[in-house]
């Protein structure tokens, strides 16, 4: 199992550093945000699997030649086999890391649920439903904001009076379509997973980069949905007006748009053609392979042994 462990460790290091760095810098994700989002999820999942798998296979190596066999032997014999210090450390590390990641996920989900409920209650008290749009509510405040408030059963899209007065009719339509896409495609679930990942590894700069990249990609996905309904120029203006909340009363100067994410979202509307179908398929295949490789490395020999 030492060879398996080493292979998993190499994979874990690759997925923790060079691969996400490359993906974060690549320019193609803005051309196919859905494929890139899939790849980010595969990298996070495969990275966690291979890290925990590397530690676990190394830790249990004294008990057998494959993970399942070693686990069964450990249960059958107790701690009888001659065990070395580093194996114990590795096995404990695997349990600690796995527990830490799962606990943080649960904690992040719980915290944001508490916050979401409080926020939803405030929205219920302070906004009125839009007559022609049952899932949308109008907030009586001059700040131009629009966002979706996801919920377990029903999601609410919130618009402010300030936004409605700032945007033209078709710009508002663009914002509505954009927020609707967040709701129907359940972007909140992807975002919370990456927020949890970042929260559990605060010393790990790649995790915060990943969270930011994923946040940017779901905005682009929602933009693509809005683009089906309004022309790019209208959508671009809506993006800038909603995003530039520092100067809500003035129409901002487009050339001096300094917010990196907003700029990227607007520019891609004009410049980027979507990836070809075969390129998208290639990315999807890579994502599937990324998750399969550590899974097979960890469980494959054991399952083969059982059969």
């Amino acid at each position: 199992m030492e060879v398996t462990s080493a292979a998993l460790a190499v994979l874990a290091v690759a997925l923790a550093w060079p691969v996400p760095l490359w993906l974060g810098r690549a320019s193609w994700p803005s051309r196919s945000p859905a494929a890139a989002l899939l790849l980010w999820q595969a990298i996070a999942l495969a990275g966690g699997l291979s890290m925990i798998g590397a530690l676990l296979t190394f830790g249990l190596a004294p008990y057998g030649d494959d993970l399942i066999g070693a686990g069964l032997a450990l249960l059958a014999t107790g701690f009888d086999a001659p065990v070395f210090f580093w194996h114990v450390i590795a096995a404990c590390g695997a349990v600690f890391l796995g527990g830490h990641l799962l606990l943080n996920l649960a904690l992040t989900v719980w915290r944001s649920e508490v916050q979401r409920r409080r926020h939803a209650q405030l929205v219920r008290l302070l906004s009125s439903p839009l007559p022609d749009n049952p899932g949308a509510r109008l907030l009586d405040t001059p700040a131009p904001v629009a966002y979706c408030l996801p919920g377990p059963l029903t999601s609410v899209t919130v618009f402010s009076a300030g936004l409605v007065s700032l945007l033209s009719g078709d710009e508002l339509q663009a914002v509505i379509e954009h927020e609707k896409a967040h709701v129907t495609q359940r972007h909140d679930i992807v975002l919370i997973a990456f927020r949890a990942w970042n929260a559990s590894l605060p010393w790990f700069p790649i995790a915060s980069r990943a969270e930011r990249a994923v946040g940017r990609l779901v905005e682009m996905l929602a933009d693509d949905q809005a683009r089906r309904v309004v022309v790019p120029a209208v959508l671009g203006r809506a993006i800038v007006l909603v995003g530039a909340t520092d100067a809500p009363e003035a129409r901002p100067d487009w050339g001096r748009l300094t917010n990196d994410d907003l700029r990227a979202r607007v520019i891609r509307l004009d410049r980027d053609a979507p990836l070809t179908r075969s390129a998208t398929a290639l990315v999807a295949a890579a994502a599937v392979a990324l998750v399969l490789v550590p899974t097979v490395l960890i469980l494959g020999p054991g399952v083969a042994g059982l059969l």
Partner: protein, 118 residues
Amino acid sequence: MASLGELERAIMDLLWSSDTALSAYDLQERLAADESRKQLAATTVLTVLSRLENKGFVARERSSRPHRYSAAATREEHMAELMHDVLGSASNRTAVLERFIGQVSPEEADALRRLLAG
């Protein structure tokens, strides 16, 4: 039939716009003045009030009989809390982004102007 959420909102609106604390019967009376709403039972109003009290939106004066209720904070204070949720997270994002912000190249600025003028 208005949902519980809409009833909560109607009661809070009445409490926010009232200068004095109101009893459940005052509220029932004022809610009945709204023609579109059907007559509410006093117990319904009391139920909603105790829900709002549990959530910290309503304060109850127990010294008088019947108990009188008032808003725990102004509408503006709650709106500020809500806006802090929304814009607070956005400005955190901005703080994170600032390190990555680059200048817009002339070519990009042209592309932006062309697109947004269209």
